[in-house]
Symmetry: D3
Subunit: 67 residues, 6 copies
């Protein structure tokens, strides 16, 4: 009965892509650990780029700089 | 000083219902473990049904199919 | 299909008490939001008092001072 | 490679303040534990006051009462 | 720069299996969302069966009953 | 009433260092957002290097290779 939480930046991910992540992670847990898909939960959280920091800097700033 | 995080699907839960969850969990922790309500935190997170998967499938799809 | 995460300090909580928390939270979600217990997950995490801070201070220190 | 999750109430925190939190936490981890900022993640989550409970009460109610 | 948290019951999962989960999830995020593996974090948490509840019951009890 | 969760690898971090992280984060939230330390929670979680992946690889393997 695994629980998986995926946090990604909010970037226009489509419902189809979310469906692929959910299916992919569930299948992976079944293959590697024989976990029952029926009780596998996957929750995707989309985070604003202002709210995500890496290397001490907001992703928003990082991306602007890289343009 | 417990910390409780409740994730539910985003389904029009009312402020009153949220208040009942918060009160109920805080009381439960006091009754079972004698935890001080003053330092009990409860955070409710509402998740879009596209972002929640169970059995390898998005809740959105699951609900559509069950209609 | 709620997911609940309860963090408490590591203090000799018994398996019976954990069972009561799990049952209590699951029942609460059923009563308040009509959530199906079959797909309600509850995970309890016990945290060392050295690793939990409140008011800028470790719980270990706080408790020693209050003795 | 630390991962830090900060949950605060949704209160009009500015992008600049978020940037200061991200920078401050990353610097702290470098100073105290010599952690490499390049692989330090900080995620800020803003929670509606209806969804945050303390002492068995929603922050919304608590604030209204204190007015 | 995704962050993935996988919670599973503590069941003798081997380091090799953990490596497969980490590699699998990272590859999945690259394929579906074109995420850079260099900044993809995966954290696996193993939870005692006494601390995991489903359907209002501890996994320990559930498994004993199913034997 | 912020809640902060810090995940780091399990590497012999001392209680004193944990105390410094807790104090530092609490002070930062007070300075940047004027948050009341009394209701600021900080929880530190130490994760085995086998359970932490970056760039599709376990930290254990990454460190062995870098030796």
């Amino acid at each position: 009965m695994p629980y998986v939480n995926i946090k990604i930046t909010k970037d226009g991910v489509t419902p189809e892509q979310k469906g692929q992540l959910i299916k992919g992670v569930t299948t992976l847990l079944q293959k590697v650990l024989n976990k029952n898909p029926t009780t596998t939960f996957v929750i995707i959280e989309e985070v604003e780029t202002d709210n995500w920091g890496i290397a001490g800097e907001q992703v928003t700033a990082r991306r602007n700089r890289e343009k």
